[in-house]
C-alpha cells in the first residue's frame, strides 16, 4: 500500500507524507462529520481538530463517534478512540444509521490503484480475482464510504504503479465510466472531490468527472505529475500551488506522528 512509508526529500523541510497530511487537514471544515481511517487521514483530522476545525466530529468504522484522541491511533479500534469518544456504537449503527443514511460529510480513502475517474482498487493486483498476483486487503468500509459520504477525499502517492489507465478491480466507485454512473448505480454521495498526492491535488471535472490536476505542491513540477500518471493527465487552466506548510503545521504533524507506537 505504501501510504505509510515516509520518504523524506532532504532538500525540503517536509516529507511527502507531511505535505499530504497538511493538505488534507486544510480541506476539513469546522462542524463537519468526518469518517476517518488510520494513517494520514487520522493525522490530518486530528491536526485539523487541534487547529482550524475544533468542532470537527470524527467517527471511525469501529463505532467510536466524536472521538478526541490525543495520540495517533495505530489501529482503527484503539482504546483511546473509545475512551475519548462521546459514544461508542455498534458497527450496525455506524454503517446503517450514519453512513448508509448519508449523515457523514466527508470520508478519507486510500488506494493501491486509481483510474482517471477516481475508481479505487484495494482488492488485488495482477492476473485474476481468483488467482491474483498480489492479494490486497479488500473493501472494508471503503466501498460504502465512497458511495454514501457527501464527499470523499482520496490520499494516495502518485506513480505509474498506482495511477493506472485501467484498474484491476473496482473496489470503491469514483465515477465509474463517467458522469452518470453514480446516479444510475444508486450511489448518493457526490463521490471523490479531491485526490491529494505527494505531487499535488486532482479534482474531478464538473462535466466529464475526469480527474484534473488543479494544484501542485510547492516543491513539485507539472512534468513530475504527468510522468507519474498512467493516462494522459489533464491540467486545470489556472493550475495553482498548494501553500507551503507553516512551521506550526509541521510541528503539530511531527508531534502527532511521534505519539504513534509505530514510530
Amino acid at each position: 500500500m505504501g501510504l505509510n512509508h515516509m520518504t523524506l526529500d532532504n532538500s525540503l523541510r517536509w516529507s511527502s507524507d507531511e505535505i499530504m497530511t497538511i493538505a488534507a487537514s486544510r480541506t476539513l471544515q469546522n462542524g463537519q462529520t468526518c469518517f476517518v481511517g488510520i494513517g494520514i487521514p487520522s493525522t490530518a483530522a486530528i491536526l485539523a481538530k487541534s487547529t482550524t476545525a475544533p468542532d470537527l466530529i470524527l467517527l471511525y468504522e469501529s463505532g467510536t463517534f466524536d472521538t478526541n484522541p490525543r495520540n495517533l491511533p495505530l489501529s482503527i479500534g484503539d482504546g483511546e478512540l473509545a475512551e475519548s469518544a462521546l459514544m461508542v456504537v455498534s458497527m450496525p449503527e455506524i454503517f446503517n444509521y450514519w453512513l448508509q443514511s448519508s449523515r457523514v460529510d466527508l470520508g478519507f480513502l486510500g488506494a493501491a490503484q486509481i483510474d482517471k475517474f477516481a475508481n479505487l482498487n484495494t482488492t488485488f493486483v495482477g492476473n485474476t480475482y481468483e488467482s491474483p498476483t498480489v492479494r490486497l486487503p479488500g473493501a472494508g468500509g471503503a466501498s460504502e464510504i465512497a458511495a454514501e459520504c457527501a464527499q470523499t477525499t482520496v490520499i494516495v502517492k502518485q506513480n505509474l504503479r498506482t495511477f493506472v489507465d485501467k484498474i484491476d478491480f473496482i473496489t470503491s466507485v469514483g465515477f465509474g465510466d463517467g458522469s452518470n454512473y453514480r446516479k444510475e448505480n444508486g450511489l448518493r454521495g457526490k463521490g471523490v472531490t479531491k485526490v491529494i498526492t505527494d505531487i499535488g491535488i486532482l479534482e474531478p471535472d464538473s462535466q466529464s468527472c475526469e480527474l484534473i490536476l488543479t494544484h501542485l505542491h510547492p516543491h513539485t513540477t507539472l512534468d513530475q505529475a504527468v510522468e507519474n500518471t498512467g493516462w494522459e493527465l489533464k491540467v486545470a487552466e489556472n493550475l495553482k500551488f498548494v501553500p507551503a506548510p507553516t512551521e506550526d503545521e509541521l510541528q503539530r504533524v511531527r508531534a502527532l506522528v511521534a505519539t504513534s507506537d509505530k514510530n
Binding site: 500500500m1 505509510n4 488510520i38 494513517g39 468504522e61 469501529s62 463505532g63 467510536t64 491511533p73 495505530l74 489501529s75 482503527i76 479500534g77 484503539d78 482504546g79 478512540l81 473509545a82 475512551e83 459514544m87 461508542v88 456504537v89 455498534s90 458497527m91 450496525p92 454503517f95 446503517n96 453512513l99 448508509q100 482488492t123 480475482y129 488467482s131 491474483p132 498476483t133 498480489v134 492479494r135 490486497l136 486487503p137 479488500g138 473493501a139 472494508g140 468500509g141 471503503a142 466501498s143 460504502e144 458511495a147 454514501e148 478491480f169 473496482i170 473496489t171 470503491s172 466507485v173 465509474g176 454512473y181 453514480r182 448505480n185 444508486g186 450511489l187 448518493r188 507506537d261 509505530k262
Partner: protein
Amino acid sequence: MNAIDKVRDLPDAIADFVHEGDTIAMEGFTHLIPFAAAHEIIRQRITHLTAVRLTPDLIYDQLIGAGCISKLVFSWGGNPGVGSLHRFRDAIENEWPCKLEIEEHNHAGLTNRYIAGASGLPFTVMRGYFGTDLMHNTRNVAQITSPFGDEAITAVAAINPDVTIIHAQQADRAGNIMMWGIVGVQKEVVYAARHVIVTVEEIVEFFEPKFNSVIIPSILVSAVCVVPGGATPSYALGYYGRDNSKYIEWADTSKDRAAFENWLHAEIYDGVKSHDS
C-alpha cells in the same frame, strides 16, 4: 441457569462445540479478539472450518496458516496499521498450506448479513456493493427492487454460524456477560449463532454501570471460559492495552513459512496449554 452450569475449561468448550466442517465466527473489532480460543482450535487441529469474520486479522491469519480454515468469509484482510496478512495472502496466492476458498464482502455487507441472522430473517436489505466489481465476484448478495417505488436495493443473505466465539471483560455468577468499549458486531453475531462460547477476563459479583456496555444474557451462552488475557495481543478495555509490537512483529513472523511454523510449534503446539484455569 447459574454459572456453574456454563463455566467450562476452554479446551472442553472448544472440543464440545467446535467440530470439523463447522461454520464459525470469532468476532471482536480490534478490541476483545478471542485469540486464546483460536489457539485452542489450532491445538485441537480442528480443520475444514468455514470461518467468518469482518477482519481476519492475526487471529485468522494464524488459523489459516495452521490449516484449520478451508473457506474464509471476510471483508477486510489486512494487518491493521501494519500491512499485509501473509498467511492469508500465501493461501490465496499460492494455496499454502491448502487451498483457501474465499467469499468476500465489505464491512457493511457482512454486518448486515449478521443482522439478518440475528433477526431470524433469510436476508436483509441495504445500500451497498452498488457499481463495484465485488457485486459480480461474491455470493449471497443480490439486487432486488423496492415494492414501494422501484428503487434497486441490495439483499444480503443471513449468516447463522454453528458457533460464535467472542471474548468479553466480565461474566457474573448467573452466566450473564458484560462487555464495553468497542463492541463491533459482537451482539449480532451472538444472536445469529446456534452455539456461543464466551471467554472472559473474570467473573464478578455484579456489573458496574458503564457507558455503552452490552449485556449478553446467560440463556444465549453455551459456555463461559475464564481466560484472563484471552484477547492478547488485542486488548480488553479496562484490563490491558493492545500489544502493538506483536502486530508489528507478526509481519516478520508470518512472512516466511518456516518462521511461521516455528512460531506455531513454539507458541501453540508445544506452548503452555492455554491461559484457562
